[in-house]
Point group: none
Chain length 243, copies 2
């Protein structure tokens, strides 16, 4: 069932510094039947070093989508996992690489899925993690956590490859999950309603928006559910406008 992997799973690299890493990631992906590589603002690309490190996976590298924003790379995705070397105090589900693979292969049977890897030194920013449904952490030694980017992709790809080898097609009647764009539309609507009810001060939102984002990301809403929630927001807005 590795066609799921080929067609549905995106590996997204954010602002990669070293072109050699991009090539090595392409190679790591191809050994495990992954093909869809997205590069968000790579520092140097294309480059001879990337091609050299890709070895026989130069087709994966040549097919890479270069994007100007993470949002662009996530378009159409209904499940998004961010990776983090650190365990943060956050409210996302924190998955191990193995758990991540199980969830991704499940979701990939229904729609497009993205696994997002951050910068070599500094990882992903909070506002990038805000776009994710779950976070993944690869277990490492506590004394030395410095996994090379391509090594991290290799482990995740390997776990995915194993978990997809016995995947079963899901029920086609399962409701479709909301896409990234639909979730962003919902959040805009939510902020508008919360400003209208004076719960949210647009000049000083503090941590509220982030916390609310996390709640709804975690719930991993279907399209219908987004419509229901937006219905509640519309009626709230109508009411406040009639004041």
């Amino acid at each position: 069932m590795s066609s799921f992997l080929k067609k549905r799973v995106r590996i997204v690299l954010v602002e990669t510094s070293h072109p050699g890493n991009i090539g090595a990631v392409a190679r790591s992906m191809k050994t495990m039947s992954l093909e869809r590589l997205y590069l968000v603002n790579p520092l140097i690309y294309p480059s001879a070093e990337a091609t050299s490190r890709a070895s026989g996976a130069d087709d994966v590298l040549a097919g890479a989508q270069v994007c100007r924003s993470l949002n662009e790379a996530l378009e159409g995705c209904s499940f998004i996992v961010g990776t983090s070397a650190r365990q943060r105090r956050i409210e996302w589900p924190l998955l191990s690489a193995r758990e991540c693979a199980q969830q991704v292969s499940h979701h990939a049977s229904e729609g497009d899925v993205a696994i997002v890897f951050g910068r070599e030194r500094s990882g992903l920013k909070n506002e990038e993690l805000d776009l994710c449904h779950a976070m993944m952490n690869i277990p490492t030694s506590q004394d030395y956590t410095s996994l090379n980017l391509a090594s991290a992709v290799q482990i995740v790809a390997y776990e995915l490859f194993l978990s997809c080898s016995d995947i079963v097609m899901r029920d086609k009647d399962a409701e479709e999950k909301a896409t990234h764009e639909q979730m962003e539309g919902f959040f805009s609507h939510l902020w508008e309603a919360l400003v209208a009810t004076e719960f949210l001060d647009p000049q000083n939102p503090g941590q509220l928006k982030r916390r609310l984002r996390r709640i709804y990301s975690r719930a991993h809403l279907t399209r219908n559910e987004v419509n229901i929630l937006r219905g509640t927001l519309t009626s709230t807005l109508d009411k406040t406008k009639s004041l």
Copy 2:
């Protein structure tokens, strides 16, 4: 249990061509608590490229034992696994990376263990495999089996690390989850607000309440998050009451 890994498990590289790979292997090892690196007739060693790719694992690299024969590298070992990209017609037990990790961690409790990786292009020779108790193969795509040497070590080291430790991945500072009573209080509050904004007809709620319940149950809210959400409801109710 990572002291087993540190003290008892050797990674043996036979006639490695590219010094960068040796450095990258050291880094892969250290992320997973492995320290004992053996180099059998490396083509170029030591080298600046190896040191550069080792990154913060230069201590593992500096401690590497350079040997003139595979036999020398295996001295004192009571369990030896050879790796192979190909499935050969042989009489050895052929282990997956995961099975190998289980066996290695078992044997490491009794004595020294070695995992032997062959040349980048041609792997291990038959007379080298003859020294092994078992053979291991890392599952890959059938179309492209060309795992980078450091990637192969990374996967094996990762599996070893998992099999030797009962890692608890969860964040210990995770906020307390809301109790059943707190969730019920939240739902009552939610219905009240939705009736006030005329989204919900209390005489004819249909499936709406059930669907909303599922969304918030799935999110598995913390106490703080329930308080935030109830804050939004209170401000909505205040607004509608001022009509």
